[in-house]
């Protein structure tokens, strides 16, 4: 220990100590008898040896190399800029990808103590849901011993009336939500558990953005009374501007916040507080672990409670239905599906780094060869080869660090731009934290080894042209570009298929009108009456060809699936098939008097009754046997990519109407009249603010995800392609310039240009072909992870592979021929004389 401090002391006081040593040695010399003075030895050598004793020589050498490296880069600004640019791109892309993943999955949400938060979802033999029934949550809350707090959240919409009714996005939360998460208000106050007491005044909290937009940031709103769903409520306060809650996607957009306990007041017929059925009252459930309790322990402790619930409410809760617990303090969590996708993305961005390093490696190899003289002098002066290697590695490290700093800067802006383009919770903090900086630097070091080691060793050993490193660098670039281009081609093809596909129903002429009756406390008889009037009035509108009601709107956000049979279920009124232009292949549509019957899709019939006559079969549903009265053509309303989906249609029950929507087939372009259709629905009940949208926009939404992914991969592919081409050009130019003399001789001896090109580029051709093969194989392997993204296109689609390979081959050919041609135009005499 003492030794270490003494060493440190030496380092910090070097100059003084060395002067003192020098003084000692001078004094010693003086005191020696005159004749013997030369025995003292070389003072410089002595000083060096003395210095070495302190063990800081490595630092000296490092500083020396760094200073020299900086001088070198200053002298070749072209090399420096190119290298830094290439590195910045390669590293920047990786850092951007890492930032995204980090913020979404690994960075805890900005709430109090995120590590102790748990997210609960429902799992049962037949359904999996991200939600839990609210009364069940209340039950868990009251009877558990492992959770310090239980929180719940739900996003819905309400109508706020100041002068005219307008729809607002509402977040419903428990009384402890804000206080437990440590959220502070911007103005006024937020909910507390006391606000949940029966008889407490109805209250509402405003979201910051909404408060700014709608109330102009007026601080006097606190205490004002507004009408929600026609009922007065007092504004308690405003959330902080950066409040996201536990569900950033909704938290960011919610405009008002109300309490679960007061839903009976705002929406009297709402079953949310009473029904144990997930469809009626499913909301998001979170918990905070008591200190010392692990997630597993908490989940286990809640199991007996789940059993009790299932036993007490068999009509709403299935046997075996229970809670699944996951860490709740993060914006998103992994599911195995997405894990493959992420691994693929990681591979892709690493490939870009490969291309960048390959490029850089060749660049540095060429540069190292111009420094032969310098290396020879150093070797002659007594440097070891190890020393030279270390020197070159240090220079590469310097480049890498500057490159990664630039890449970090680049990715800062790129991340912001990407969030804007791709959409994501905008207010999440994407600024670099220490994790990202460390990652960026680490990547820089890794890259410097990749591209710097070979040139360093080559310089030290003074190897000449024939080196495998050059081949490997170039080959890596070509292979990596090949992979990226193939994947791009696959995704583009898949996307085109999706956009042009025939879904089995006409989505281009449909308007969906959603009055959201369930949010306004409609009882089933009222809902039936409302819907009847709505359909009657709408049918009389010009431009309306036909209407129908359905429980599930196609391509919407709700799903009713039987997971074991993989059948999508919908309750519909007569006219559904006509409205959506789905042909009925056999039998007939429902009529108003039908009961205990069902219509199935062709795929359903083929799957469950192969070889038998489906019209004689029955379907088991809700304890009854339903006779099949019709077969409809396949129309996968939810499953754009699920080839094994089938549909089951049931006649609408009165209870379903509260949540049903109206589908309208228009003879005019649907965008034109969707607004007026919405107004009609609103005119029947002024408390409602119905949504009206076109199915086409739903379709575009669903496709937008694929479009974004394809866009990103295309961008990466283009980047890799450009880098690889530049790299190829560089390599061929270099090879040609090295062999200028040989070309001159061949020309002088009478070879034709074609033969010369052939001779020079033959090896190059073989290398590129081999890389293309390797790249194709790698692409094939990686494309397996893309399978679920590729709609209607096999991940081994020959056309895509071929087009990518051809593009790369042709581009390589051009990149190679141009420098070669230029060499041929050189005068042979000049070529012969050139060294």
């Amino acid at each position: 220990m003492g030794t270490f401090f003494r060493r440190l002391h030496y380092l910090l006081n070097r100059r003084r100590l060395e002067r003192e040593l020098q003084n000692d040695m001078d004094a010693h010399r003086e005191m020696m008898p005159a004749g013997n003075r030369n025995d003292f030895g070389n003072p410089t050598r002595l000083r060096e040896r003395s210095r070495e004793a302190w063990g800081w020589s490595w630092l000296d050498r490092l500083m020396q190399d760094l200073r020299f490296g900086v001088r070198l880069l200053r002298k070749s600004p072209g090399l420096a800029c190119t290298a830094i640019a290439v590195l910045a791109l390669g590293i920047g892309v990786n850092v951007t990808a890492f930032t995204f993943v980090d913020v979404m999955f690994f960075k805890p949400l900005p709430v109090r103590d995120p590590q102790s938060l748990v997210r609960f979802t429902t799992d049962s033999p037949k359904i999996r849901s991200t939600q839990v029934a609210y009364p069940a949550i209340a039950f868990y809350r009251a009877h558990n011993t492992v959770l310090a707090e239980v929180l719940a959240q739900y996003a819905t919409s309400m109508t706020m009336t100041e002068k005219t009714p307008e729809a607002v996005r509402a977040g419903i939360v428990t009384g402890n939500y804000f206080s437990d998460l440590g959220a502070a208000p911007a103005y006024g106050r937020l909910f507390t558990p006391a606000d949940e007491n029966p008889g407490a005044a109805p209250v509402v909290v405003l979201g910051y953005g909404f408060w700014q937009r709608r109330f102009g940031g007026d601080a006097s709103v606190v205490g004002r009374v507004i009408r929600l769903n026609q009922r007065p409520a007092t504004i308690l306060g405003v959330t902080a501007y950066d409040f996201l809650g536990l569900d950033p996607e909704h938290g960011e957009r919610d405009e008002v916040w109300t309490l679960f306990s007061q839903q009976g007041y705002f929406t009297p017929e709402n079953k949310m507080l009473t029904s144990f059925a997930l469809n009626d009252s499913g909301v998001k459930m979170y918990g905070r672990l008591k200190p010392g309790v692990s997630i597993k322990e908490a989940a286990a402790a809640l199991e007996p409670l789940s059993e009790e619930l299932a036993h007490d409410h068999p009509e709403a809760i299935q046997k075996g239905q229970g809670l699944v617990a996951e860490p709740g303090g993060y914006a998103a969590s992994f599911s195995s599906n997405e894990a493959a996708g992420f691994a693929l993305f990681a591979a892709l961005v690493l490939l870009i780094l490969c291309v960048a390093c390959g490029n850089l490696g060749n660049l540095l190899l060429s540069h190292a060869l111009t420094r032969e003289r310098e290396v020879s002098i150093r070797l002659a002066l007594g440097a070891t080869r190890g020393r030279i290697t270390r020197q070159f590695m240090t220079e590469s490290l310097l480049l890498a660090l500057v490159g990664s700093a630039t890449g970090l800067l680049l990715s800062y802006y790129a991340t912001r731009a990407l969030v804007l383009v791709l959409g994501g919770p905008r207010r999440m903090n994407f600024s670099p934290d220490w994790r990202i900086i460390v990652f960026s630097l680490g990547l820089g070091v890794f890259a410097s080894i990749l591209f710097g080691l070979a040139p360093a060793r080559h310089a030290a050993r003074q190897l000449q042209q024939r080196s495998r490193a050059r081949t490997i660098f170039m080959g890596a670039q070509v292979a990596a570009s090949c992979v990226l281009l193939v994947l791009t081609a696959l995704l583009v093809r898949g996307l085109r298929q999706v956009l042009n596909s025939d879904l089995g129903f006409d989505y281009k002429h449909i308007v969906v009108v959603d009055p959201q009756l369930y949010a306004h406390g409609y009882a089933p008889p009222n809902a039936a009456e409302y819907m009847r009037q709505l359909q009657a009035q709408t049918a009389q509108e010009p431009g309306v060809a036909s209407t129908s009601l359905a429980y599930i709107a196609p391509m919407g956000h709700r799903l009713r699936v039987n997971f074991s049979t993989h059948a999508y279920i919908n309750s519909i009124t007569p006219g559904y098939f006509r409205t959506l232009s789905i042909p009925i292949l056999r039998g007939r549509d429902f009529n108003t008097k039908d009961a205990d019957v069902a219509i199935v899709s062709q795929s359903y019939a083929n799957k469950f009754w192969p070889g038998k006559d489906p019209m004689r079969q029955t379907v088991q549903w809700d304890g009854k046997q339903l006779a099949v009265i019709g077969i409809a053509a396949n129309a996968p309303i939810m499953a754009l990519r699920d080839g094994s989906a089938s549909e089951l249609y049931l006649p609408d029950a009165e209870n379903d109407l509260v949540e049903s929507v109206m589908l309208v087939r228009t003879s005019r372009p649907p965008e034109v009249i969707s607004a007026s259709l919405g107004k009609i629905a609103g005119s029947l009940d002024s408390a409602l603010s119905p949504k009206a949208y076109t199915l086409k926009s739903s379709f575009d939404d669903k496709v937008s995800d694929s479009q974004k992914i394809t866009g990103v991969v295309t961008g990466l592919g283009a980047l890799a392609f450009a880098l690889a081409l530049i790299g190829l050009w560089g390599v061929v130019s270099y090879t040609v310039s090295r062999r200028t003399k040989e070309i001159g001789i061949r020309l002088a001896l009478g070879a034709t240009p074609a033969r010369i090109v052939e001779a020079i580029l033959a090896k190059f051709l073989v290398q590129v072909s081999a890389s293309l093969v390797a790249g194709t194989i790698l692409a094939a392997l990686l494309s397996i992870a893309l399978r679920h993204e590729l709609y209607g296109v096999s991940n081994f689609d020959g056309f895509s592979y071929l087009s990518a390979i051809t593009l790369l081959a042709v581009a390589s050919g051009v990149a190679a021929l141009i420098p070669a041609r230029r060499a041929l135009q050189v005068d042979p005499m000049v070529a012969l004389r050139c060294e």
Binding site: T3, H28, M32, A53
Partner: protein
């Protein structure tokens, strides 16, 4: 090995021993070793100062300012407690090795 060189590895021990009675500056150390050995051992100046630096690093000697015979400010090296311990240990190691060598030379 030339006539006036000392056994490799023993320079440190000799320096420490010579410093045991009191602090000396560099030249004095070389002189003392030369004299005490009866002019047999010649300290190579090229080894002296690096050896002193090593001992400073390990904390076996300490440097302090003094004035030399030529009226020049120069550093004197003084043995520390750790240095004394090191000296003892090196001397006993050396004795053992010498006994072993002597035994082999006497009998073989």
């Amino acid at each position: 090995m030339a006539k006036n060189e000392m056994l490799p590895g023993t320079l440190g021990m000799l320096i420490l021993r010579v410093l045991q009675p009191g602090a000396l500056h560099g030249y004095a150390i070389a002189q003392r070793i030369h004299q005490l050995s009866g002019d047999l051992l010649q300290v190579e100046e090229g080894s002296l100062y690096p050896a002193l630096q090593r001992m400073l690093l390990k904390g076996w000697v300490r440097a302090e300012w003094g004035v030399s015979e030529t009226n020049r400010k120069v550093r004197f090296y003084r043995l520390t407690a750790a240095g004394r311990k090191q000296l003892q240990s090196e001397m006993s190691d050396f004795d053992r090795v010498m006994q072993g060598i002597a035994a082999v030379l006497a009998k073989a």
